[in-house]
Protein backbone atom coordinates (compact mmCIF):
# COMPACT_ATOMS: atom_id res chain seq x y z
CA UNK A 1 0.00 0.00 0.00
CA UNK A 2 1.40 3.39 -0.97
CA UNK A 3 0.84 6.28 1.33
CA UNK A 4 0.57 9.58 -0.43
CA UNK A 5 2.58 12.20 1.39
CA UNK A 6 1.65 15.79 0.67
CA UNK A 7 4.59 18.18 0.50
CA UNK A 8 4.92 20.18 3.68
CA UNK A 9 4.60 23.70 2.31
CA UNK A 10 1.11 23.15 0.97
CA UNK A 11 -1.89 25.00 2.21
CA UNK A 12 -4.98 23.12 1.11
CA UNK A 13 -8.00 24.92 -0.18
CA UNK A 14 -10.85 23.12 1.59
CA UNK A 15 -12.87 21.25 -0.96
CA UNK A 16 -15.89 19.22 -0.16
CA UNK A 17 -18.80 18.66 -2.49
CA UNK A 18 -22.35 18.66 -1.16
CA UNK A 19 -25.04 16.33 -2.47
CA UNK A 20 -26.51 19.32 -4.33
CA UNK A 21 -23.10 19.89 -5.99
CA UNK A 22 -23.06 16.25 -7.10
CA UNK A 23 -26.48 16.59 -8.69
CA UNK A 24 -25.52 19.85 -10.40
CA UNK A 25 -22.33 18.32 -11.86
CA UNK A 26 -24.24 15.19 -12.90
CA UNK A 27 -26.76 17.31 -14.76
CA UNK A 28 -24.02 19.34 -16.48
CA UNK A 29 -22.46 16.02 -17.56
CA UNK A 30 -25.87 14.66 -18.61
CA UNK A 31 -25.50 11.61 -16.39
CA UNK A 32 -28.44 10.63 -14.21
CA UNK A 33 -27.35 9.99 -10.60
CA UNK A 34 -30.05 8.48 -8.41
CA UNK A 35 -30.48 9.62 -4.80
CA UNK A 36 -29.19 6.24 -3.71
CA UNK A 37 -25.95 6.64 -5.68
CA UNK A 38 -25.35 10.28 -4.83
CA UNK A 39 -23.79 9.76 -1.40
CA UNK A 40 -21.21 7.22 -2.59
CA UNK A 41 -20.45 9.35 -5.64
CA UNK A 42 -19.94 12.36 -3.37
CA UNK A 43 -17.48 10.47 -1.13
CA UNK A 44 -15.47 9.16 -4.06
CA UNK A 45 -15.34 12.52 -5.82
CA UNK A 46 -14.25 14.17 -2.56
CA UNK A 47 -11.47 11.58 -2.22
CA UNK A 48 -10.24 12.42 -5.72
CA UNK A 49 -10.42 16.17 -5.00
CA UNK A 50 -8.30 15.60 -1.88
CA UNK A 51 -5.67 14.05 -4.16
CA UNK A 52 -5.92 16.96 -6.60
CA UNK A 53 -5.91 19.61 -3.85
CA UNK A 54 -2.16 19.43 -3.27
CA UNK A 55 -1.47 21.22 -6.52
CA UNK A 56 -3.43 24.25 -5.41
CA UNK A 57 -0.76 25.73 -3.20
CA UNK A 58 2.11 25.51 -5.69
CA UNK A 59 3.28 28.93 -6.79
CA UNK A 60 2.91 29.01 -10.57
CA UNK A 61 3.13 32.78 -11.11
CA UNK A 62 4.65 33.53 -14.50
CA UNK A 63 4.41 29.92 -15.75
CA UNK A 64 2.67 29.57 -19.12
CA UNK A 65 -0.02 26.86 -19.16
CA UNK A 66 0.94 23.83 -21.28
CA UNK A 67 -2.16 22.69 -23.13
CA UNK A 68 -0.47 20.05 -25.20
CA UNK A 69 2.27 17.47 -24.98
CA UNK A 70 4.31 19.41 -27.49
CA UNK A 71 3.85 22.97 -28.51
CA UNK A 72 1.93 21.94 -31.58
CA UNK A 73 0.49 24.12 -34.27
CA UNK A 74 -2.76 23.46 -36.04
CA UNK A 75 -2.00 22.47 -39.60
CA UNK A 76 -3.95 24.05 -42.38
CA UNK A 77 -5.01 22.09 -45.43
CA UNK A 78 -6.28 22.99 -48.85
CA UNK A 79 -10.01 23.76 -48.96
CA UNK A 80 -10.87 20.62 -50.88
CA UNK A 81 -13.42 17.87 -50.41
CA UNK A 82 -11.61 14.85 -49.00
CA UNK A 83 -14.47 12.82 -47.52
CA UNK A 84 -16.69 10.57 -49.54
CA UNK A 85 -20.37 10.10 -48.68
CA UNK A 86 -20.56 7.21 -46.23
CA UNK A 87 -23.80 8.22 -44.55
CA UNK A 88 -25.44 4.83 -44.95
CA UNK A 89 -22.50 3.02 -43.33
CA UNK A 90 -22.32 5.47 -40.45
CA UNK A 91 -26.06 5.45 -39.85
CA UNK A 92 -26.17 1.66 -39.88
CA UNK A 93 -24.80 1.74 -36.32
CA UNK A 94 -27.22 4.39 -35.04
CA UNK A 95 -30.00 3.50 -32.58
CA UNK A 96 -32.74 5.09 -34.70
CA UNK A 97 -32.72 6.72 -38.13
CA UNK A 98 -35.25 7.58 -40.79
CA UNK A 99 -34.76 8.95 -44.30
CA UNK A 100 -31.10 9.63 -43.60
CA UNK A 101 -31.81 11.49 -40.36
CA UNK A 102 -31.02 10.59 -36.76
CA UNK A 103 -34.22 10.38 -34.72
CA UNK A 104 -34.49 11.93 -31.25
CA UNK A 105 -37.51 12.87 -29.11
CA UNK A 106 -39.22 16.08 -30.22
CA UNK A 107 -37.31 19.13 -28.97
CA UNK A 108 -39.26 22.06 -30.45
CA UNK A 109 -43.06 22.19 -30.16
Amino acid sequence: MITYKPLSYKVYIPMSLTLADVQRIAHLARIRVSEGEAEQTRNQLNGIFDLIAEMQAVDTAGIAPMAHARDVFQRLRADEVTETDRRAAYQAVAPQTEAGLYLVPQVIE
Binding site: V22, A29, R30, H68, R70, R86, Y90
Partner: protein
Amino acid sequence: MSQQTIKQLADLLVGGKTSSVELCQDYLARIATHNPNLNAFISVDAERTLAEARAADAARAAGQAGPLTGVPIAHKDIFCAEGWLTTCGSKMLYNFVSPYDAHVISRFKAAGMPTLGKTNMDEFAMGSSNETSYYGPVKNPWDSARVPGGSSGGSAACVAAGLAPAATGTDTGGSIRQPAALCGITGLKPTYGVVSRYGMIAFASSLDQAGPMAQSAEDCALLLNVMAGFDGRDSTSLEREKEDYGRDLAKPLNGLRIGLPKEFFGAGLSGDTAQAVQAAIDEFRKLGATTVEVSLPNSGLSVAAYYVIAPAEASSNLSRFDGVRYGYRTPDYADLTDLYEKSRAEGFGAEVKRRIMIGTYVLSHGYYDAYYIQAQKLRRLIANDFAEAYKACDVILGPTAPTTAFKLGEKADDPVQMYLSDIYTIAVNLAGLPGMSLPCGFDGQGLPIGLQLIGDYFSEARMLNVAHQYQLATDWHQRTPGGF
Protein backbone atom coordinates in the same frame (compact mmCIF):
# COMPACT_ATOMS: atom_id res chain seq x y z
CA MET B 1 4.14 -24.45 -29.17
CA SER B 2 6.96 -22.47 -27.58
CA GLN B 3 6.53 -18.73 -27.73
CA GLN B 4 8.14 -17.19 -30.74
CA THR B 5 8.90 -13.57 -31.39
CA ILE B 6 7.67 -11.52 -34.30
CA LYS B 7 11.19 -11.64 -35.68
CA GLN B 8 11.31 -15.46 -35.48
CA LEU B 9 7.86 -15.86 -37.03
CA ALA B 10 8.79 -13.51 -39.87
CA ASP B 11 11.92 -15.59 -40.52
CA LEU B 12 9.87 -18.83 -40.57
CA LEU B 13 7.50 -17.30 -43.11
CA VAL B 14 10.33 -16.03 -45.30
CA GLY B 15 11.95 -19.47 -45.18
CA GLY B 16 8.70 -21.14 -46.21
CA LYS B 17 8.68 -23.21 -42.99
CA THR B 18 5.15 -22.17 -42.10
CA SER B 19 2.26 -20.19 -43.53
CA SER B 20 0.19 -17.36 -42.14
CA VAL B 21 -2.85 -19.66 -42.12
CA GLU B 22 -0.96 -22.23 -40.04
CA LEU B 23 0.25 -19.60 -37.61
CA CYS B 24 -3.20 -18.07 -37.22
CA GLN B 25 -4.77 -21.49 -36.69
CA ASP B 26 -2.23 -22.20 -33.93
CA TYR B 27 -2.88 -18.93 -32.15
CA LEU B 28 -6.66 -19.20 -32.56
CA ALA B 29 -6.48 -22.68 -31.01
CA ARG B 30 -4.50 -21.30 -28.07
CA ILE B 31 -7.02 -18.50 -27.66
CA ALA B 32 -9.88 -21.02 -27.69
CA THR B 33 -8.13 -23.05 -24.98
CA HIS B 34 -6.99 -20.29 -22.64
CA ASN B 35 -9.22 -17.29 -23.20
CA PRO B 36 -12.19 -18.65 -21.22
CA ASN B 37 -9.96 -18.40 -18.16
CA LEU B 38 -7.84 -15.33 -19.01
CA ASN B 39 -10.57 -13.20 -20.62
CA ALA B 40 -7.90 -11.33 -22.57
CA PHE B 41 -10.05 -11.00 -25.71
CA ILE B 42 -13.42 -9.31 -26.10
CA SER B 43 -13.85 -10.39 -29.73
CA VAL B 44 -12.43 -13.24 -31.77
CA ASP B 45 -13.55 -13.86 -35.34
CA ALA B 46 -11.69 -16.88 -36.72
CA GLU B 47 -13.18 -16.65 -40.22
CA ARG B 48 -12.11 -13.05 -40.62
CA THR B 49 -8.62 -13.78 -39.25
CA LEU B 50 -8.13 -16.76 -41.56
CA ALA B 51 -9.35 -14.80 -44.58
CA GLU B 52 -6.68 -12.18 -43.82
CA ALA B 53 -4.11 -14.97 -43.35
CA ARG B 54 -4.99 -16.49 -46.73
CA ALA B 55 -4.60 -13.07 -48.35
CA ALA B 56 -1.18 -12.71 -46.68
CA ASP B 57 -0.07 -16.12 -47.95
CA ALA B 58 -1.29 -15.21 -51.43
CA ALA B 59 0.64 -11.95 -51.30
CA ARG B 60 3.78 -13.86 -50.33
CA ALA B 61 3.24 -16.39 -53.12
CA ALA B 62 2.91 -13.50 -55.55
CA GLY B 63 6.20 -12.02 -54.36
CA GLN B 64 4.51 -9.04 -52.73
CA ALA B 65 5.35 -9.74 -49.08
CA GLY B 66 6.71 -7.05 -46.76
CA PRO B 67 8.96 -7.83 -43.78
CA LEU B 68 6.05 -8.84 -41.49
CA THR B 69 3.47 -10.10 -43.99
CA GLY B 70 1.56 -13.02 -42.50
CA VAL B 71 2.61 -12.46 -38.88
CA PRO B 72 -0.59 -12.09 -36.81
CA ILE B 73 -1.21 -9.48 -34.12
CA ALA B 74 -3.97 -8.68 -31.60
CA HIS B 75 -5.42 -5.19 -31.29
CA LYS B 76 -6.66 -3.37 -28.22
CA ASP B 77 -10.41 -2.90 -28.50
CA ILE B 78 -9.91 0.89 -28.49
CA PHE B 79 -8.96 0.79 -32.20
CA CYS B 80 -11.82 1.00 -34.65
CA ALA B 81 -11.50 -1.87 -37.10
CA GLU B 82 -13.94 -2.14 -39.99
CA GLY B 83 -16.35 -5.03 -39.57
CA TRP B 84 -15.13 -5.77 -36.03
CA LEU B 85 -17.12 -5.18 -32.90
CA THR B 86 -15.26 -2.26 -31.27
CA THR B 87 -16.43 -1.77 -27.68
CA CYS B 88 -13.62 0.14 -25.93
CA GLY B 89 -14.45 -2.08 -22.95
CA SER B 90 -17.81 -0.34 -22.49
CA LYS B 91 -21.47 -1.27 -22.48
CA MET B 92 -21.90 2.07 -24.27
CA LEU B 93 -20.43 0.46 -27.43
CA TYR B 94 -21.71 -3.09 -26.87
CA ASN B 95 -23.13 -3.20 -30.42
CA PHE B 96 -20.73 -0.92 -32.29
CA VAL B 97 -19.38 -2.62 -35.39
CA SER B 98 -16.95 -0.07 -36.72
CA PRO B 99 -17.64 1.23 -40.24
CA TYR B 100 -14.00 2.26 -40.70
CA ASP B 101 -10.39 1.47 -39.79
CA ALA B 102 -8.21 3.40 -37.40
CA HIS B 103 -4.94 4.59 -38.98
CA VAL B 104 -3.02 2.03 -36.89
CA ILE B 105 -5.28 -0.77 -38.13
CA SER B 106 -4.90 0.29 -41.75
CA ARG B 107 -1.11 0.33 -41.33
CA PHE B 108 -1.11 -3.25 -40.03
CA LYS B 109 -3.47 -4.29 -42.82
CA ALA B 110 -1.17 -2.72 -45.38
CA ALA B 111 1.73 -4.62 -43.80
CA GLY B 112 -0.24 -7.84 -44.33
CA MET B 113 -0.55 -8.67 -40.63
CA PRO B 114 -3.79 -10.54 -39.79
CA THR B 115 -5.84 -9.48 -36.75
CA LEU B 116 -6.15 -12.27 -34.14
CA GLY B 117 -8.85 -10.48 -32.19
CA LYS B 118 -9.72 -7.42 -30.13
CA THR B 119 -8.28 -7.35 -26.64
CA ASN B 120 -9.97 -6.56 -23.36
CA MET B 121 -9.27 -3.26 -21.64
CA ASP B 122 -10.43 -0.95 -18.89
CA GLU B 123 -13.56 0.89 -19.98
CA PHE B 124 -12.53 3.76 -22.29
CA ALA B 125 -8.94 3.06 -21.11
CA MET B 126 -9.75 4.45 -17.66
CA GLY B 127 -8.14 2.14 -15.14
CA SER B 128 -4.92 0.46 -14.07
CA SER B 129 -6.17 -3.09 -13.44
CA ASN B 130 -8.53 -3.96 -16.30
CA GLU B 131 -11.29 -4.32 -13.70
CA THR B 132 -13.42 -1.48 -15.09
CA SER B 133 -14.11 -3.43 -18.31
CA TYR B 134 -17.81 -4.11 -18.90
CA TYR B 135 -16.67 -7.47 -20.30
CA GLY B 136 -15.12 -8.61 -17.02
CA PRO B 137 -11.60 -8.47 -15.62
CA VAL B 138 -8.57 -10.02 -17.34
CA LYS B 139 -6.52 -12.49 -15.28
CA ASN B 140 -2.77 -12.15 -14.99
CA PRO B 141 -1.18 -15.23 -16.66
CA TRP B 142 1.45 -15.37 -13.88
CA ASP B 143 -1.23 -15.67 -11.16
CA SER B 144 -4.89 -15.82 -12.07
CA ALA B 145 -5.89 -14.25 -8.73
CA ARG B 146 -4.11 -11.06 -9.80
CA VAL B 147 -4.73 -8.20 -12.21
CA PRO B 148 -2.76 -7.83 -15.47
CA GLY B 149 -2.60 -4.05 -14.99
CA GLY B 150 -4.36 -1.64 -17.28
CA SER B 151 -5.72 -0.21 -19.25
CA SER B 152 -4.13 -2.40 -21.98
CA GLY B 153 -4.52 -5.46 -19.72
CA GLY B 154 -5.87 -7.82 -22.37
CA SER B 155 -3.03 -6.96 -24.76
CA ALA B 156 -0.41 -7.54 -22.05
CA ALA B 157 -1.96 -10.79 -20.84
CA CYS B 158 -2.41 -12.29 -24.32
CA VAL B 159 1.24 -11.64 -25.23
CA ALA B 160 2.51 -12.97 -21.87
CA ALA B 161 0.45 -16.15 -22.27
CA GLY B 162 1.44 -16.64 -25.91
CA LEU B 163 -2.09 -16.19 -27.26
CA ALA B 164 -0.65 -13.63 -29.67
CA PRO B 165 2.96 -12.91 -30.60
CA ALA B 166 2.36 -9.17 -30.08
CA ALA B 167 -0.45 -6.67 -29.56
CA THR B 168 -1.18 -2.99 -29.84
CA GLY B 169 -1.83 -0.84 -26.81
CA THR B 170 -2.49 2.77 -25.95
CA ASP B 171 -0.99 4.82 -23.14
CA THR B 172 -2.58 7.94 -21.64
CA GLY B 173 -1.01 7.72 -18.16
CA GLY B 174 0.85 4.41 -18.24
CA SER B 175 -1.61 2.07 -19.97
CA ILE B 176 1.04 0.34 -22.10
CA ARG B 177 3.95 0.39 -19.63
CA GLN B 178 2.21 -0.58 -16.38
CA PRO B 179 0.45 -3.72 -17.75
CA ALA B 180 3.65 -4.62 -19.65
CA ALA B 181 5.48 -4.50 -16.30
CA LEU B 182 2.82 -6.48 -14.43
CA CYS B 183 2.70 -9.20 -17.13
CA GLY B 184 6.44 -9.41 -17.83
CA ILE B 185 6.50 -8.17 -21.42
CA THR B 186 8.07 -5.27 -23.34
CA GLY B 187 5.96 -2.23 -24.23
CA LEU B 188 6.71 1.13 -25.79
CA LYS B 189 4.81 4.41 -25.68
CA PRO B 190 6.26 6.61 -28.43
CA THR B 191 6.72 10.37 -28.37
CA TYR B 192 3.33 12.08 -28.56
CA GLY B 193 2.39 12.58 -32.22
CA VAL B 194 4.52 9.77 -33.70
CA VAL B 195 1.54 7.39 -34.11
CA SER B 196 -1.76 8.71 -35.49
CA ARG B 197 -4.73 8.82 -33.12
CA TYR B 198 -7.24 8.61 -36.01
CA GLY B 199 -9.82 5.94 -35.21
CA MET B 200 -8.40 5.35 -31.74
CA ILE B 201 -11.32 6.05 -29.43
CA ALA B 202 -10.33 9.23 -27.61
CA PHE B 203 -9.86 9.44 -23.84
CA ALA B 204 -7.53 12.44 -23.23
CA SER B 205 -6.42 13.70 -26.61
CA SER B 206 -3.34 15.66 -25.49
CA LEU B 207 -1.96 12.55 -23.76
CA ASP B 208 -3.20 9.49 -25.73
CA GLN B 209 -0.56 7.66 -27.74
CA ALA B 210 -0.54 4.17 -29.26
CA GLY B 211 2.40 1.80 -29.21
CA PRO B 212 3.52 -1.83 -29.49
CA MET B 213 3.41 -4.50 -26.75
CA ALA B 214 5.60 -7.50 -27.50
CA GLN B 215 8.12 -10.03 -26.25
CA SER B 216 11.24 -7.99 -26.91
CA ALA B 217 12.59 -4.56 -27.75
CA GLU B 218 13.58 -5.88 -31.18
CA ASP B 219 9.93 -6.78 -31.86
CA CYS B 220 8.78 -3.38 -30.61
CA ALA B 221 11.12 -1.75 -33.15
CA LEU B 222 9.69 -3.85 -36.00
CA LEU B 223 6.12 -2.99 -34.95
CA LEU B 224 6.79 0.70 -34.45
CA ASN B 225 8.15 0.78 -38.00
CA VAL B 226 4.65 -0.28 -39.08
CA MET B 227 2.65 1.97 -36.74
CA ALA B 228 4.52 5.26 -36.94
CA GLY B 229 4.05 7.85 -39.63
CA PHE B 230 2.27 11.03 -40.57
CA ASP B 231 -1.51 11.02 -40.97
CA GLY B 232 -3.35 14.15 -42.03
CA ARG B 233 -6.53 12.95 -40.30
CA ASP B 234 -4.97 13.45 -36.86
CA SER B 235 -4.42 17.16 -36.29
CA THR B 236 -1.51 16.47 -33.92
CA SER B 237 0.22 13.86 -36.08
CA LEU B 238 3.81 14.94 -36.68
CA GLU B 239 5.30 15.36 -40.15
CA ARG B 240 8.70 13.78 -39.79
CA GLU B 241 11.13 11.88 -41.96
CA LYS B 242 10.43 8.17 -41.94
CA GLU B 243 12.89 6.36 -39.69
CA ASP B 244 13.93 2.78 -39.03
CA TYR B 245 13.46 2.33 -35.30
CA GLY B 246 15.67 -0.74 -35.34
CA ARG B 247 18.67 0.99 -36.90
CA ASP B 248 20.62 1.33 -33.63
CA LEU B 249 19.73 -1.99 -31.98
CA ALA B 250 23.24 -3.42 -32.32
CA LYS B 251 25.13 -0.40 -31.01
CA PRO B 252 27.18 -1.02 -27.85
CA LEU B 253 26.22 1.01 -24.77
CA ASN B 254 29.70 2.39 -24.08
CA GLY B 255 29.37 6.00 -23.02
CA LEU B 256 25.62 5.85 -22.46
CA ARG B 257 24.64 8.20 -19.62
CA ILE B 258 21.72 6.87 -17.60
CA GLY B 259 19.86 9.32 -15.35
CA LEU B 260 18.40 7.96 -12.12
CA PRO B 261 15.68 10.27 -10.80
CA LYS B 262 15.95 10.26 -7.02
CA GLU B 263 12.19 10.83 -6.70
CA PHE B 264 11.54 7.39 -8.29
CA PHE B 265 13.45 5.47 -5.63
CA GLY B 266 11.85 6.82 -2.46
CA ALA B 267 9.01 5.83 -0.15
CA GLY B 268 6.23 3.82 -1.78
CA LEU B 269 8.53 1.64 -3.93
CA SER B 270 8.38 -2.02 -2.93
CA GLY B 271 11.63 -3.64 -1.79
CA ASP B 272 11.64 -6.37 -4.43
CA THR B 273 11.11 -3.86 -7.23
CA ALA B 274 13.85 -1.57 -5.90
CA GLN B 275 16.26 -4.53 -5.77
CA ALA B 276 15.48 -5.73 -9.29
CA VAL B 277 15.88 -2.24 -10.72
CA GLN B 278 19.17 -1.86 -8.86
CA ALA B 279 20.39 -5.14 -10.34
CA ALA B 280 19.45 -3.86 -13.80
CA ILE B 281 21.43 -0.68 -13.16
CA ASP B 282 24.47 -2.83 -12.29
CA GLU B 283 23.97 -4.77 -15.53
CA PHE B 284 23.92 -1.54 -17.54
CA ARG B 285 27.17 -0.45 -15.89
CA LYS B 286 28.70 -3.77 -16.98
CA LEU B 287 27.53 -2.99 -20.49
CA GLY B 288 29.49 0.25 -20.44
CA ALA B 289 26.93 2.78 -19.28
CA THR B 290 27.52 5.37 -16.60
CA THR B 291 24.85 6.58 -14.19
CA VAL B 292 24.12 10.00 -12.81
CA GLU B 293 21.53 11.07 -10.26
CA VAL B 294 18.98 13.47 -11.69
CA SER B 295 16.01 15.18 -10.12
CA LEU B 296 12.42 15.56 -11.29
CA PRO B 297 11.30 17.77 -8.39
CA ASN B 298 7.77 18.34 -9.67
CA SER B 299 7.05 14.72 -10.62
CA GLY B 300 5.27 14.24 -7.29
CA LEU B 301 2.60 16.60 -8.58
CA SER B 302 2.02 14.63 -11.76
CA VAL B 303 -0.80 12.44 -10.41
CA ALA B 304 -2.71 15.50 -9.18
CA ALA B 305 -2.21 17.42 -12.44
CA TYR B 306 -3.15 14.35 -14.48
CA TYR B 307 -6.40 13.81 -12.59
CA VAL B 308 -7.46 17.30 -13.61
CA ILE B 309 -6.23 17.34 -17.22
CA ALA B 310 -7.21 13.79 -18.27
CA PRO B 311 -10.76 13.93 -16.84
CA ALA B 312 -11.24 17.42 -18.31
CA GLU B 313 -10.38 16.16 -21.78
CA ALA B 314 -12.39 12.98 -21.21
CA SER B 315 -15.51 14.89 -20.21
CA SER B 316 -15.34 16.67 -23.55
CA ASN B 317 -14.39 13.62 -25.65
CA LEU B 318 -17.02 11.35 -24.13
CA SER B 319 -19.83 13.84 -24.67
CA ARG B 320 -20.18 12.20 -28.11
CA PHE B 321 -21.72 9.12 -26.48
CA ASP B 322 -25.26 10.36 -26.11
CA GLY B 323 -27.46 7.55 -27.41
CA VAL B 324 -28.12 9.29 -30.72
CA ARG B 325 -25.51 8.40 -33.36
CA TYR B 326 -24.07 5.09 -32.17
CA GLY B 327 -23.95 2.72 -29.25
CA TYR B 328 -26.28 2.24 -26.34
CA ARG B 329 -29.64 4.02 -26.07
CA THR B 330 -31.83 3.62 -22.98
CA PRO B 331 -35.11 1.83 -23.78
CA ASP B 332 -37.22 4.27 -21.73
CA TYR B 333 -37.15 8.04 -22.00
CA ALA B 334 -39.53 10.95 -21.72
CA ASP B 335 -37.65 13.65 -23.63
CA LEU B 336 -34.22 14.41 -25.10
CA THR B 337 -32.52 15.31 -21.79
CA ASP B 338 -33.94 12.16 -20.26
CA LEU B 339 -32.60 10.15 -23.23
CA TYR B 340 -29.10 11.64 -22.76
CA GLU B 341 -29.00 11.29 -18.98
CA LYS B 342 -30.33 7.75 -18.84
CA SER B 343 -28.33 6.45 -21.83
CA ARG B 344 -25.14 7.79 -20.26
CA ALA B 345 -26.02 6.62 -16.72
CA GLU B 346 -26.76 3.09 -17.98
CA GLY B 347 -24.11 2.89 -20.71
CA PHE B 348 -21.07 4.10 -18.72
CA GLY B 349 -19.53 2.27 -15.77
CA ALA B 350 -18.76 3.85 -12.38
CA GLU B 351 -15.13 4.87 -13.03
CA VAL B 352 -15.95 6.51 -16.37
CA LYS B 353 -18.79 8.43 -14.77
CA ARG B 354 -16.54 9.61 -11.92
CA ARG B 355 -13.95 10.89 -14.38
CA ILE B 356 -16.51 12.64 -16.57
CA MET B 357 -17.92 14.34 -13.47
CA ILE B 358 -14.47 15.41 -12.21
CA GLY B 359 -13.72 16.80 -15.66
CA THR B 360 -17.06 18.58 -15.90
CA TYR B 361 -16.45 20.21 -12.53
CA VAL B 362 -12.89 21.40 -13.18
CA LEU B 363 -13.97 22.96 -16.47
CA SER B 364 -17.05 24.64 -15.02
CA HIS B 365 -17.43 28.34 -14.42
CA GLY B 366 -15.52 29.54 -11.37
CA TYR B 367 -13.20 26.55 -11.16
CA TYR B 368 -11.49 26.60 -14.55
CA ASP B 369 -8.51 28.75 -13.49
CA ALA B 370 -8.05 27.15 -10.08
CA TYR B 371 -8.00 23.62 -11.45
CA TYR B 372 -7.58 23.31 -15.18
CA ILE B 373 -5.19 26.21 -15.83
CA GLN B 374 -3.24 25.47 -12.65
CA ALA B 375 -2.83 21.84 -13.75
CA GLN B 376 -1.56 22.99 -17.16
CA LYS B 377 1.02 25.20 -15.46
CA LEU B 378 2.19 22.25 -13.39
CA ARG B 379 2.38 20.27 -16.59
CA ARG B 380 4.92 22.76 -17.91
CA LEU B 381 6.95 22.55 -14.68
CA ILE B 382 6.97 18.75 -15.00
CA ALA B 383 8.07 18.93 -18.66
CA ASN B 384 10.77 21.47 -17.74
CA ASP B 385 12.16 19.05 -15.12
CA PHE B 386 12.75 16.45 -17.84
CA ALA B 387 14.41 19.00 -20.14
CA GLU B 388 16.78 19.91 -17.31
CA ALA B 389 17.52 16.26 -16.55
CA TYR B 390 18.39 15.48 -20.20
CA LYS B 391 21.25 18.00 -20.00
CA ALA B 392 23.03 15.43 -17.83
CA CYS B 393 21.89 12.10 -19.30
CA ASP B 394 20.75 10.33 -22.48
CA VAL B 395 18.00 8.21 -21.00
CA ILE B 396 16.21 8.10 -17.64
CA LEU B 397 15.78 4.78 -15.85
CA GLY B 398 13.56 3.76 -12.96
CA PRO B 399 10.79 1.39 -11.94
CA THR B 400 7.66 1.21 -14.11
CA ALA B 401 5.26 0.58 -11.24
CA PRO B 402 5.65 0.80 -7.46
CA THR B 403 4.59 -2.83 -6.92
CA THR B 404 4.12 -6.06 -8.86
CA ALA B 405 0.62 -7.24 -9.85
CA PHE B 406 -1.91 -6.76 -7.06
CA LYS B 407 -4.88 -8.99 -6.31
CA LEU B 408 -8.15 -8.72 -8.20
CA GLY B 409 -10.48 -6.57 -6.10
CA GLU B 410 -7.70 -5.21 -3.90
CA LYS B 411 -7.98 -1.62 -5.12
CA ALA B 412 -11.23 -1.76 -7.05
CA ASP B 413 -13.21 0.25 -4.49
CA ASP B 414 -10.54 2.85 -3.84
CA PRO B 415 -10.00 5.04 -6.91
CA VAL B 416 -7.20 7.06 -5.31
CA GLN B 417 -5.08 4.00 -4.44
CA MET B 418 -5.65 2.72 -7.98
CA TYR B 419 -4.48 6.04 -9.45
CA LEU B 420 -1.21 5.80 -7.52
CA SER B 421 -0.17 2.64 -9.41
CA ASP B 422 0.71 5.01 -12.27
CA ILE B 423 2.83 7.31 -10.14
CA TYR B 424 6.03 6.71 -12.19
CA THR B 425 4.43 6.69 -15.63
CA ILE B 426 2.08 9.69 -15.68
CA ALA B 427 4.71 12.44 -15.83
CA VAL B 428 5.97 10.96 -19.12
CA ASN B 429 2.57 11.45 -20.78
CA LEU B 430 2.23 14.98 -19.42
CA ALA B 431 5.59 15.86 -20.98
CA GLY B 432 4.80 13.92 -24.21
CA LEU B 433 8.04 11.92 -23.96
CA PRO B 434 8.61 8.33 -25.13
CA GLY B 435 8.71 5.67 -22.41
CA MET B 436 9.02 1.93 -22.32
CA SER B 437 8.83 -0.94 -19.87
CA LEU B 438 10.87 -4.13 -20.04
CA PRO B 439 11.11 -7.12 -17.71
CA CYS B 440 13.98 -6.99 -15.19
CA GLY B 441 13.24 -9.71 -12.63
CA PHE B 442 10.69 -11.30 -10.33
CA ASP B 443 9.50 -10.66 -6.81
CA GLY B 444 9.43 -13.25 -4.00
CA GLN B 445 6.11 -14.57 -5.29
CA GLY B 446 7.32 -15.11 -8.83
CA LEU B 447 5.60 -12.05 -10.26
CA PRO B 448 7.37 -10.07 -12.99
CA ILE B 449 8.94 -6.67 -12.34
CA GLY B 450 9.22 -3.93 -14.97
CA LEU B 451 12.02 -1.49 -15.64
CA GLN B 452 11.08 1.86 -17.16
CA LEU B 453 13.19 3.74 -19.67
CA ILE B 454 12.23 7.33 -20.45
CA GLY B 455 13.82 8.96 -23.47
CA ASP B 456 14.06 12.50 -24.76
CA TYR B 457 11.68 13.46 -27.58
CA PHE B 458 12.05 11.25 -30.67
CA SER B 459 14.77 9.08 -29.12
CA GLU B 460 12.83 5.83 -29.62
CA ALA B 461 15.64 4.24 -31.66
CA ARG B 462 18.13 4.96 -28.88
CA MET B 463 15.76 3.61 -26.18
CA LEU B 464 15.17 0.45 -28.19
CA ASN B 465 18.94 0.09 -28.56
CA VAL B 466 19.38 0.39 -24.78
CA ALA B 467 16.59 -2.12 -24.13
CA HIS B 468 17.83 -4.56 -26.79
CA GLN B 469 21.40 -4.58 -25.45
CA TYR B 470 20.00 -5.31 -21.97
CA GLN B 471 17.89 -8.13 -23.42
CA LEU B 472 20.94 -9.61 -25.16
CA ALA B 473 22.68 -9.74 -21.75
CA THR B 474 19.71 -10.99 -19.70
CA ASP B 475 16.86 -13.44 -20.23
CA TRP B 476 14.05 -11.94 -18.10
CA HIS B 477 12.08 -11.16 -21.27
CA GLN B 478 12.21 -14.82 -22.32
CA ARG B 479 10.63 -16.15 -19.13
CA THR B 480 7.06 -17.27 -19.63
CA PRO B 481 4.33 -18.18 -17.15
CA GLY B 482 3.63 -21.88 -16.51
CA GLY B 483 0.49 -23.53 -17.82
CA PHE B 484 0.49 -22.04 -21.30
